[in-house]
Structure formats: C-alpha cells, structure tokens
C-alpha cells in the first residue's frame, strides 16, 4: 500500500510539474523501453546459453523477472478480483510464490530456446504504455515473435507482459490462477502454498 501511495504521489508531482501534461500517455520514451528490454534480453540470452543446470537457470530467470518485470502488478492482476479481499501479507506472500512459479514455468519455455537468441526489433507507444517487439531465432526453426509491454506506472520502467506469438503471459496466468483459486474454493493461503512447488 505504501508503495502505491508513493507511486501516486510521484505521478501527482509529475503532473503538477506539467511533465505528464506534456506527454499525456506516458513519460516513458520508446528509447528507454527499448533499452530496458535490450538489457533484459541480453540477460535472458546469457542464461539460455550459459550451459547451467536447470535449477540454476530457474534461479537466474527469477532474478531477471524481479529486476525487469513489475511482478507485484502482474501478481495482483493474475489474482483477479480476489486480490481486493486479500490482506497485505497475503498479497506479498502470493507475489513471492508467484514469481518463483513464473520463473520455473517460463524458464522451462526459455530452455527450449537453448542455442538460439532473442533480438529486439522496435519500440512504439500503444495506449498508455510501450510495445517492444523482438524476434526469437532458434536453430532449424522459423523465427517467432516475442513482444514485451513496458510501463512506468509502478514508478520504474518495467515490463508487465510478455507475449510469445501473441500469447500473453498476463492473460494466460489470469486464466490459470483463476482456475487454481476456484479449485481451492478461493483459499488464497492454500494457493500460495501450492504455487511454491507449481510451474
């Protein structure tokens, strides 16, 4: 909550200065978004081709998520309407378990990229955020599209969604976490416990 207040204060301060008014959608520039994703992709490429063990790779992917992604927002969004009734402690425990789960699940996908590489192509504003397009090139396969959505709404430039051939991590996880919660009759604590080993 404190984080949210300070974020609002910062945004309020910016608009008071007329900065937000000058660039109505976002103060984040295409160059900044592109730089962020170029850096993230360099880190991902390094992990993919590091030859490390599976579990070491998952730890590295988790660090990349924590560094470049707006994990609290992704986690809250994945939890859906149930996030509103959750306590602060539950939300932070969920965000934590969710990050590890994401790193394992998407780390598994990224492990399929071993021997390949991701290249950032372009960045352009869409609505109130930036869309950064990249291509994944894998040996012996047609290249495919990887898109990152970047926003500064958290107070920092971070990506909040990752799409592979149009399939959004955010949308997919909203469906998945929603189904997991239904299975557990809305018990968030049980969900948190199970997420620690899922993915």
């Amino acid at each position: 909550m404190a984080n949210e207040i300070s974020r609002r204060a910062v945004l309020g301060g910016l608009s008071a200065l007329g900065v937000a008014a000058a660039t109505p959608a976002t103060s984040l520039t295409a160059d900044a978004a592109r730089d962020l994703i170029t850096q993230a992709v360099a880190d991902i490429n390094a992990v993919i081709n590091s030859g490390k063990s599976e579990s070491a790779m998952y730890r590295d992917f988790e660090a990349i998520f924590r560094r470049y992604a707006d994990v609290p927002t992704i986690a809250r969004s994945a939890l859906g309407p149930d996030a509103r009734s959750a306590s602060r402690a539950q939300l932070s425990a969920f965000a934590d378990a969710f990050t590890g789960y994401l790193a394992r699940k998407y780390g598994k996908r990224f492990r399929e990229f071993i021997g390949g590489s991701i290249t950032v192509r372009s960045a352009q504003p869409v609505k109130s955020f930036l869309e950064v397009r990249a291509t994944a090139d894998l040996p012996g396969q047609a290249p495919f599209a990887v898109t990152f959505l970047v926003s500064d709404r958290s107070g920092r430039d971070l990506f909040f969604d990752l799409l592979i051939e149009g399939i959004s991590l955010l949308k997919t996880e909203r469906t998945e976490i929603g189904a997991m919660l239904d299975q557990r009759r809305g018990d968030i604590d049980l969900l948190i416990r199970d997420l620690q080993t899922a993915g």
Binding site: E4, T73, I74, R76, S77, A83, K105, K108, R109, E112, V126, K127, S128, F129, E131, A142, A145, L149, S151, R153, F160, D161, L163, E165, G166, I167, S168, L170, K171, T172, R174, T175, E176, A179, M180, D182, Q183
Partner: protein, 246 residues
Amino acid sequence: MPNVMHRKFAVLAVLLALSACNTPPGPVEVWDPYEAQNRQIHADNVATDRAVLRPVARAWSEGIPGPVRQGAVNFATNLEAPSHVVNDVLQGEGEDAVHNLFRFVINSTLGIGGIFDPASSFGLEPRSTDFGETLFVWGAPEGAYLELPLLGPSTERDAAGTVVDIVLNPVGVIASDLPNWVSPTGRVVRVIDTRARLATSIDGILYESADSYAQSRSIYLQNRRFELGDEAEDTYFDPYEDLYGE
C-alpha cells in the same frame, strides 16, 4: 463424379454453417456458448492424446531419425502449397501467391517431390495460410469457440475453413495420379510432428494446468487472432487500468 457431388455438398454445408455463425452481443474476449459440449469433447480429446497421440509423437521423435522426420514433414507441407496459393489469391495477396507458387515448383522439382525444402534456402520461407484466414479476410465473424473432435481448439469460422481445406485440397488437380489417401496422411504426419516438437508446451497445457480446457481455449484464441492480425478485440490487457482504474 460422386466425389465431386460430395465436395459440392460439403461446400454448401460450410456456407450454410457460416451464415449461422454465432456472434456475441458485444465485444468479448471469449465467446463460448457451447462450453458444456466443448468440455465434453475436450475430455475425449485429452484421453485420445494420452492414449494415442502423445505416445505416437514420442515414438516418432525418439524412433525416427531427424532427417527422415524432416523429409516426411517437408513432403506433407508441400502437398498443402497449392492450397496456400489458392487461398492467397482468394485473399488478394498476390505477392504471397507468387511466393508460394515458386515454393511449390522449386520444392516439387529440385526438392524431389517436396522431400527437401530448397526454396527456404533461396529465401522463400514457408508462408502458410488456410481457408479460415480467407474467411477472415472476407469479413466473416469469428463465431463461437469450438473444440472439435480429434482436431482440437477452433472457432466456427476456422472449423468451416478446415472443412474446405481438407475437402478441396487442389493438389489433387495438379497431381492427379496422387492417391486419395496421401494428402490426409500428410496432415496426420504434420499433427504428430507438431505434437512432438511442442511436447513440453502441450504437456504443460493439457496435463499441468488447473483447467486445461480454459487454458487451451485462451491460448488458441490469442495465437489465432495474432496470426490473422485480428485487432477487433482488445489485443493487450492493461493491468494498471484494471487495478487502479483510471
């Protein structure tokens, strides 16, 4: 002759089905009025995958040498090239039509009947399309989500397209001495090979997700709309708008 009659009947059935395409009252991300029946079919499809497709795909990737697999897939894909050309023309994509026509000619000759894919090394990469895409270009609505027996996730529009593509594959016109069973068998080979290549991802969706029906539906629709460039739906989900409502 009876064959031609069958085909005409199938096309008529597809057109009738399309005119009855079920459209949602407003823009929605998922339109699934047949969810109960779809879930039933999904359960059967998962059972079939577990019993047949997954083990066959595993045997395919473990038992058959890579170059043989690649040759079979190339051959099967080449049989679809005439269909790609026709669909490109129907979509008004002249450049793609010429591209795919050259691919077919080069791979059928230099590629020894399509077993090799020299066209790709000349910079003519595969550009596949289907009649579902043609219907999209013509403005047909996506219709309701459907899970088809054996064929898996689809929509009313894509199901109609699949029927047309299977029944009216023009390769039979060009290679009239090609036995009838070859092209459908090619389709099966491509399905097995895709199941093998995407083993981890598909296993994840079907066997590790909390609701494999909802997952495959969401993933199919997202990917298909991306492929078609269908921007009708709100493509990106903005979590900030949703969480902090502005």
